[in-house]
Amino acid sequence: MTDVDTAAPGRSAQAAGSSGGARPGRSGRLGRRGRRPGPPRSAGSVAVRWVLRLLAVGYVLSLVALPVLTVARRTFGHGLQPVLDALANPDLQSAARLGVVVAGLSVLINTVFGVGIAVLLVRYRFPGRRLLDAVIDLPVSVSPVVVGIALILVYGRNSPIGGWLEAHGIQVIFATPALVLATVIVALPLVVREVVPVLEEAGIEQDQAAESLGASAWQRFVRITLPTIRWALAYGVVLSLARSLGEFGAVRVVSGSVAGQSQTPTLFVNDAYQEFGPVAEQSAFTAAFALMLVAVLFIVVIAWLRPKEKN
């Protein structure tokens, strides 16, 4: 059973490896575990182990890995040239630009707001604090389509607020502001939820010490709080970025999805696929493949940040 024991901390081993053995405490603990004797294992449990292993791998393969590989095959099925042609499509390029702008803005907003709210939630007590805490989580557990229509009901042309804004020359729905708003909402808790636990663990002793030595609030934030939360913040930012770039449902509702104007990359995939015809299909698969590559890149970055954040 010793091999099983070394198996248990799969991620820990990976984590220790990636941080260059900088944490002797943890690897020491694992080392002891690895030598711990276990009861002998029967042939029956070996069979069970194999069945479980095959079930797990088979399920994940047929549900996730195979379909993903099929998209790659469909994208490059006719060689590289059609892919390059599809990438040269001006609609795809403007969708990509819009996607980057919308995701960038909403990540910026959620980062500033998320750090601020996290500090308030951890360090202060005020009436309505738990309600605030709960409201932040709501957008991720509700349907993105509900987020979208909620925005339309408030900021649409037919509502008092939307009408007033439009009378003053600000169009929200079917324009970039609504895309940013929808994206901000669906990624709302990601930064807050990563930063809060780190702030809670850090306590405020250092902060108080700095204050007694005359550091201003801004100095304390930049020199103490920010370095404390930097990895959690980085983790939250990457999660938000992935979510923001990939948002479809909420954006679909509030965008008119006009090619070249309000079409984000995910909307482009949808519209191109609905169009039918080999060229449109090639565009859809090319854009989808690009989004998939970005998603896998995010997973890798997240896997790299995770141990740092937890340390």
Binding site: V4, P9, G10, R11, S12, Q14, G38, P39, G44, V48, L52, R53, L55, A56, Y59, V60, L63, V64, A65, L66, P67, T70, V71, L120, V122, R123, Y124, L132, A134, S141, S143, P144, V145, V146, V147, I149, L153, I161, V184, I185, E200, E201, G203, I204, A242, L245, G246, R252, V253, T266, L267, N270, Y273, F285, A288, L291, A295, V296, V300, A303
Partner: protein, 289 residues
């Protein structure tokens, strides 16, 4: 900190983490002028982007009294979509609760070549844009399927899409708990002659149940509101494969705000119930520590 550096910490894992928290000097702070201003700005912002829109949904659904809400959510079409959505979401949640626990077990307790790759693949449904997930599924289980399995326009297709997007939830909430578990008790049980299954049922299962439940609750909420991954493979057939999210979208595009807002309110209520359930589970886990 003896916290396991595992993936996305589920709410229960997070509660476990709180155990090692230092006695908190923070949190007793009274609001100062600056922080009070910050709070004001934050609350105003949240009201504008969350509070007000949600209130608008609820108010619109009750526009002409509770009667309109009830008739909107009990129209034949609304009922059809709700039945399909809740049924498929429940089914996908149950399947992934079982299989997700199994996968978490294999990831924590087993060692085989390619395990790290499996870890990455499991996160794909989280990171993949939903519309890309839809395209991914339709290219394997659609009209050009290499296996000749065409699920477009079928309820099985909807179910498959929900299975895909909810795969990581239970895995990622159970995994940290399994890693943190002390193996001594299991080994004691085994040395006293308990079979592998008995040990699992009597020792492991009670420990991981809160994590399984909270992962399942998140998965259910996600499945209930899912839109992007479903629409391509469902083909959105009226009364057959139309899910609640696309029903809401269709109604808002037809200008029937009350019908859209009513079903949206229903989904909102379920989301809030799920959050309350998670909060309760978190408290229970924290108390057990």
């Amino acid at each position: 900190m003896a916290v396991v550096p595992v993936g996305r910490p589920g709410p229960v894992g997070r509660a476990g983490r709180a155990r090692n928290r230092r006695p908190r000097a923070a949190g007793s702070g009274r609001l100062t002028a600056t922080s009070g201003l910050g709070l004001g700005v934050g609350v105003l912002w949240l009201s504008l982007i969350v509070g007000l829109p949600i209130a608008a949904v609820v108010v619109t659904s009750l526009g002409d009294g509770p009667g309109t809400f009830v008739s909107a959510v009990t129209s034949a079409e609304a009922l059809d979509t709700l039945r399909l959505t809740v049924g498929a979401a429940l089914g996908a949640t149950v399947v992934n609760a079982v299989v997700g626990t199994l996968i978490a077990w294999v990831l924590v307790r087993d060692q085989f070549p390619g395990k790290r790759l499996l870890e990455v693949v499991i996160d794909i449904p989280f990171a993949l844009p939903t519309i890309v997930a839809g395209l991914v599924l339709i290219s394997l289980y659609g009209p050009q399927s290499p296996f000749g399995i065409d699920l477009v326009g079928t309820r099985r297709g909807v179910f498959l899409a929900l299975l895909f997007v909810t795969l990581p939830f239970v895995v990622r909430s159970v995994q940290p708990v399994l890693m943190e578990m002390d193996r001594d008790v299991e080994e004691a049980a085994a040395s006293l002659g308990a079979t592998g299954f008995t040990t699992f049922r009597r020792i492991v299962l009670p420990t991981i149940t809160p994590a399984v439940l909270s992962g399942s609750a998140l998965a259910f909420a996600r499945a209930l509101g899912e839109y992007g991954s479903v629409i391509l493979i469902s083909a959105n057939l009226l009364g057959r494969t139309e899910v609640s999210s696309s029903f809401i979208l269709k109604k808002i595009e037809e200008g029937d705000q009350v019908a859209a807002a009513s079903v949206a309110t229903l989904l909102l209520v379920v989301a809030i119930v799920v959050l309350l359930l998670l909060d309760t589970l978190r408290r229970l886990a924290a108390r057990r520590d």
